[in-house]
C-alpha cells in the first residue's frame, strides 16, 4: 500500500446517459472522494508471483493424493463373497440400484422435498435394469462355458416371479451362511442363480467385467454409470471408504483420501447430514439440497433481504477495516446512529 497522499483529484463518474443521482441507500459516489496513487498492475503481478510460488511450494512439499480406483478384479479378489451376494441381489431386485427409482428405473418414486416429488419429476432418463444390465447381459456376452449358457437359457425362459423367488432364496441362504461363503450354502431351490453368480465372480476376477459394463456395445465406452452402480451396490466400496473416514456420517463429503484438505468449502452442506432431522430422514438428500438452495439464494440476494443486509452495520467490523478513514473522520456517524437512507433497499446496480 502506498502512503496516503491527500489529493483533490477526483475519479470520473460512470456515464449512464443521464445525470448521476445518489443511490437510495445514501451511499455517496466513490468517485467523489479524494484519491491517492495506486499501482493496480504492480499489485496484480506481485499477487500472481506470490500465489504461483505458494502453489509450487505446497505442491513440492505435500504433492496430491491419487489412490488407485477399485477395479472389479480388485473387488473379486479382496471380497469374493460380496461380489456373489451383490450379483444375487441384482437378480433378486433387492440392491440399492434395483430399488432406486428415477433416474434409473420406476421401482420407487424416490425422495420428496415436502410434497414435491422432485426425483420422480426428473424422470427415468438413464434407464438401468439392474438384473439385466449389471449381471445377465455381461454374463451373456461371450459366454463360452456350456454350464453357464445352460443356466442363462433357463433364466431367460423363466417367468419373472420365479426368477425373483430363486434369487431371493439364494440371497437369504447366502446371508445365513458363515461369512456369506457360497460354498457353505445348503442345498435349496435356487434354480440357475448359484451358477450365474459364480460365473459372475469368475468374470470379475478375470478382469473382463469392466469392459462388459462400460462399453455398452460402443468401442468408445466412457460412461461408468453401470459399473459405479454395481460397485456401489456391494459393501466393499463403502467399507474401503469408511476405513478412510469418507462416510457420509464421518463428514466424508468434504474429505478426500490421505491427509489432504479435501473440499472444506463443502462444510455447510456436509454439516446438515450430521444432525437431526436430516441424519435419520429417508428424504435427507432432498431436504439438505432444498435447504442449501434456500441458503444459496439468500447469499446471492443478501443485498435485498432486510435484517441480514444490516448485520454489517450492527456488528461494526467495518470500523476495523476502515480504521484509518474513521480516525481521520471522527465526525462520521457511529453504527448506533445510522445515516439517513440506510433502511430502503438498494437501487438497481
Amino acid at each position: 500500500m502506498s502512503t496516503v497522499t491527500p489529493a483533490q483529484q477526483r475519479i470520473p463518474r460512470p456515464r449512464t446517459g443521464g445525470s448521476y443521482s445518489t443511490p437510495r441507500d445514501g451511499t455517496p459516489d466513490s468517485h467523489g472522494f479524494a484519491t491517492r496513487p495506486y499501482d493496480l498492475v504492480k499489485e496484480f503481478v506481485i499477487a500472481l508471483v506470490v500465489v504461483t510460488l505458494a502453489t509450487v511450494g505446497l505442491s513440492l512439499v505435500f504433492s496430491s493424493p491419487d489412490e488407485k480406483a477399485i477395479s472389479m478384479r480388485d473387488w473379486a479378489i479382496a471380497a469374493p463373497n460380496d461380489v456373489v451376494a451383490t450379483a444375487t441381489g441384482e437378480l433378486a431386485g433387492t440392491t440399492t440400484s434395483a430399488t432406486y427409482g428415477p433416474p434409473y428405473n420406476t421401482a420407487s418414486d424416490g425422495q420428496k422435498l415436502g410434497p414435491l416429488p422432485l426425483q420422480k419429476w426428473g424422470g427415468v432418463r438413464i434407464p438401468v435394469d439392474s438384473a439385466r444390465d449389471l449381471v445377465v447381459t455381461p454374463l451373456s456376452t461371450g459366454a463360452s462355458d456350456p454350464a453357464l449358457r445352460a443356466a442363462l437359457g433357463i433364466w431367460n425362459s423363466t417367468p419373472a416371479a420365479r426368477q425373483t423367488a430363486w434369487a431371493t432364496a439364494y440371497a437369504d441362504a447366502l446371508a445365513k451362511a458363515p461369512d456369506g461363503d457360497p460354498a457353505k450354502v445348503p442345498t435349496g431351490d435356487y434354480g440357475p442363480v448359484p451358477r450365474m453368480a459364480g460365473s459372475f465372480l469368475t468374470l470379475a476376477r478375470g478382469g473382463g467385467l469392466e469392459g462388459e459394463l462400460t462399453s455398452s456395445g460402443n468401442f468408445y465406452g466412457g460412461d461408468q454409470t453401470r459399473s459405479l452402480l454395481l460397485l456401489s451396490d456391494g459393501a466393499f466400496l463403502e467399507d474401503q471408504a469408511r476405513a478412510r473416514h469418507l462416510g457420509g456420517d464421518q463428514w466424508g463429503m468434504m474429505n478426500e483420501t490421505g491427509n489432504y484438505p479435501g473440499q472444506p468449502w463443502m462444510w455447510l452442506y456436509t454439516f446438515w447430514y450430521q444432525i437431526e432431522p436430516f441424519s435419520s430422514s429417508d428424504n435427507a438428500d432432498a431436504l439438505v439440497w432444498g435447504l442449501m438452495m434456500v441458503l444459496s439464494a439468500a447469499l446471492v440476494l443478501l443485498p435485498f433481504i432486510p435484517g441480514l443486509r444490516s448485520i454489517p452495520r450492527w456488528i461494526p467490523v467495518h470500523r476495523l477495516i476502515w480504521r484509518d478513514y474513521y480516525r481521520r473522520h471522527p465526525a462520521t456517524p457511529t453504527p448506533a446512529a445510522p445515516a439517513a437512507g440506510s433502511a430502503p433497499p438498494p437501487g438497481p446496480a
Binding site: D25, F33, V51
Partner: protein, 215 residues
C-alpha cells in the same frame, strides 16, 4: 458539403442512434468511467489488507487455468502415469485450495463492508454466483480424477442430485460428461462471471466506508 459533415446534422445523429454498432460502441465506452479500467489512483479509504484478497483470488484463478490447461494437454489419464503430470495435478489442487481460501476471505470482507451499497448489488450477486459456481467446478474436478476419490464421491453425490431431479440431466456417474463440464462449460461461465464482476467493480469504484460522506 462532405458526407462526414452531413453526419453531424440532426439527421445524422438520429441515424447513429439507430446504428447497432454505434449503440454497442457507445455502451461499451460508457461502461467504465474514462481511465478507470486500469486506474492509477484509488480513493484514500482503500487502505486495508482485506483489499488484497480480491486480487489474490484472481491470481489463483489464473494459476488454476494454467495448471488445468497443462493437464488438458496431457490428457485425462496423464497424471496417473507421469511424475510431471502428477506434479501439475498437485499445482492444480493447491491453486484451487488457495483460490477458495482467498475467495472466502474476500467474500467475508465484502460482507462486513456491506459492499452491495451504492448500486453495487449486481457486483455482489456476480461474486456470490461465481463462488457457488466455483464449488460446482471444483466438484466436477473431483469426479474426473478417475481414482478412488472419484468413485466414492460420484457414488455419494448421485443421491443428492437425483433426490432433486438434477441427476437425470447431470449424471455424476458419467466421467465423460463431468470432464466436459469441468474443462469447458463451467470454466467458461466462471470466466464470464469473473470478468463481469471486475468490470462492475471498475464501473462503480470501491465502496466507500459505511456512513462516509464525500470529501
Amino acid at each position: 458539403m462532405t458526407a462526414r459533415t452531413t453526419d453531424t446534422t440532426t439527421t445524422g445523429r438520429a441515424a447513429d442512434e439507430r446504428n447497432w454498432t454505434v449503440r454497442l460502441r457507445t455502451r461499451l465506452e460508457h461502461t467504465v468511467p474514462p481511465g478507470q479500467a486500469l486506474p492509477d489512483r484509488q480513493p484514500v479509504y482503500v487502505a486495508s489488507w482485506i483489499y488484497v484478497f480480491g486480487v489474490l483470488t484472481l491470481a489463483a484463478f489464473l494459476v488454476i487455468l494454467a495448471s488445468g490447461g497443462i493437464l488438458a494437454i496431457g490428457g485425462a489419464q496423464w497424471w496417473h502415469t507421469s511424475g510431471t503430470g502428477h506434479f501439475v495435478n498437485s499445482l492444480h489442487l493447491w491453486s484451487v485450495e488457495l483460490f477458495f481460501a482467498f475467495m472466502v476471505i474476500h467474500l467475508w470482507g465484502k460482507f462486513w463492508m456491506a459492499a452491495w451499497r451504492g448500486r453495487r448489488a449486481l457486483t455482489w450477486i456476480t461474486g456470490a454466483v461465481a463462488f457457488l459456481g466455483s464449488i460446482g467446478t471444483a466438484f466436477t474436478g473431483y469426479l474426473t480424477q478417475s481414482n478412488f476419490d472419484s468413485q466414492w464421491i460420484a457414488g455419494q453425490a448421485k443421491d443428492g442430485l437425483n433426490a432433486v431431479g438434477i441427476g437425470a440431466y447431470f449424471n455424476v456417474l458419467n466421467p465423460g460428461q463431468m470432464l466436459l463440464w469441468h474443462v469447458a462449460l463451467l470454466p467458461f461461465v466462471l470466466g464470464v462471471l469473473v470478468v463481469a464482476h471486475i468490470v462492475l467493480v471498475r464501473r462503480h469504484g470501491v465502496v466507500p466506508p459505511i456512513d462516509a460522506t464525500e470529501e
